[in-house]
Symmetry: C2
Subunit: 330 residues, 2 copies
Amino acid sequence: MATEKRRKSRYTKGNFRLSAEISALSLELERGERRALSKLISILDEDKSSALTLLERLYKDGKRSYRIGITGPPGAGKSTLVDRLVFYIRKELKKRVGVIAIDPSSPFTGGALLGDRIRMQTHFNDDGVFIRSLSNRGERGGISFSARLLAGLYDAYGFNFTIIETVGVGQSETDIMDLADTTIVVLVPESGDTIQTMKAGILEVADIFVVNKSDRQGSEEIAEELRQMVHMKNGQPQGWVAPVVLTQASKDVGITTLFNEIQNHMAKGRDDSNIRRKLSKNREIVEVALADLKVKLDRAINHNKKFKGVSTVEGVNPYSVAKILIKTIR
Amino acid sequence: MATEKRRKSRYTKGNFRLSAEISALSLELERGERRALSKLISILDEDKSSALTLLERLYKDGKRSYRIGITGPPGAGKSTLVDRLVFYIRKELKKRVGVIAIDPSSPFTGGALLGDRIRMQTHFNDDGVFIRSLSNRGERGGISFSARLLAGLYDAYGFNFTIIETVGVGQSETDIMDLADTTIVVLVPESGDTIQTMKAGILEVADIFVVNKSDRQGSEEIAEELRQMVHMKNGQPQGWVAPVVLTQASKDVGITTLFNEIQNHMAKGRDDSNIRRKLSKNREIVEVALADLKVKLDRAINHNKKFKGVSTVEGVNPYSVAKILIKTIR
């Protein structure tokens, strides 16, 4: 028992070596000061070397926002849906909500997304809403750590809900969706091919399916296809069976039904920690540790003199360099 | 100059601490002994802790196989195309070729893939061909390191070509395709929706587009759509412009044209190291270092007594555990 206690304190009392500025901002953040939230975000945008310690400092078990993940192909109307959910949470539930919108790295879809962002600006005068876009341009793999970091700041700030919106249903989106308590996969009647392509990935992440733009032809067919996929997957009948909700987000149709399903999943999750914690804690710990090590490795290879111009040296063995790099950050 | 020389030797002469068994097998591998290839693969399947050192030991700058990546949605006929390319390389070019086929993690597509594998067995009696499937089941993120490792073994064994086949066109497939010198994205006339969904990702990776099953309706339209996408992307006219090749792999139609385009891209790559090395060396080094650290972190959290049952301790702070984990592997 005493050992257990010692172990517990070891993993709960951290040794928070943070700069005076970040320490002060953390306190302000926990008092709900919006300025501190913005300031911490921009400091960490520049330099993530204190990110892990800050997350450790802000962590409070069981005290965090409920995280709703929204993913699906471009053009499915995800941003409009997020917009409607934000309105619902504010107007109907009178709760506070933070949004993390993850832009794809390509400049090609930039135009459409910019439009989405502008639409969301209707919330900008609302103090109970905070919206932040993350771009993964040139930062492959780092995006899920950035999202985790932002979610940690939102939790400390005191949001009741966090909505994480990401384009696509590939592997990296799956990784980001590990952060969510409830994940919604948004499709449209035209998404038949996408469903076939992404079948396994979609089934793995979806807690709720949405067929948006459901006034279009083929929406009932696609809903039925999804129901059958869910049925085929579900071996154990006592588990959660992902419902399929038809919406027309732009006309506010189906939003209440959708939110009811989110709350059903929330309630189920509270009963069953296996549903709530999709990501095993061990894997989460390794992922966080790796993200922190990546910050250190990137800094070492780019700024440590030892590695200056190393990639231009003829005949260099990249594996030898990798080994020396690992020693350097120790 | 002397400093340069010292730096070079530092990064080229490794300190190869490998077990006697692995050392012996490395030598046999370099003599082209097939048994050593199989043996090393199964040893590393069990335990990757010596993977980085083995890669370092086997690395020979400029002496490696030419890597062809093949990706695209399920049902596009990728495996048949790989099969045809293997035949072409064996019969027409009289060269040796290794195949790395990456299975998706889902059991749902297992059936189809098994069929593909069986079709490939026609090559099993050919000593100049080696086929290996990698599954990423439960090993998120680790698959690209496993593929890199396998490619390193193929290089040392003396294959002229390595073909890497992967299902899907999401982010993790993009990461795997970083290994390839020439990447082929395979689509079918029905892939219109996939193209729209995956546009940015597809454009980022594709050196050559293939529209397979081109006897089907709509193949010319999809080819034209791809040409326009490539045209829109191509800001600098002096760069490589991804060609669109129509094939019917199952009837051996278009394979010679496709291989000619592969050789064009190969030739272009030799002229222009920016094309050949899509992955910057620094990023490659960091990725390899991270993969090695991940092996160490996974082992520590799963086998070090310090972390036994840590995730079940009430109120545990995962960020504190991550920090202690990092210290443990140092």
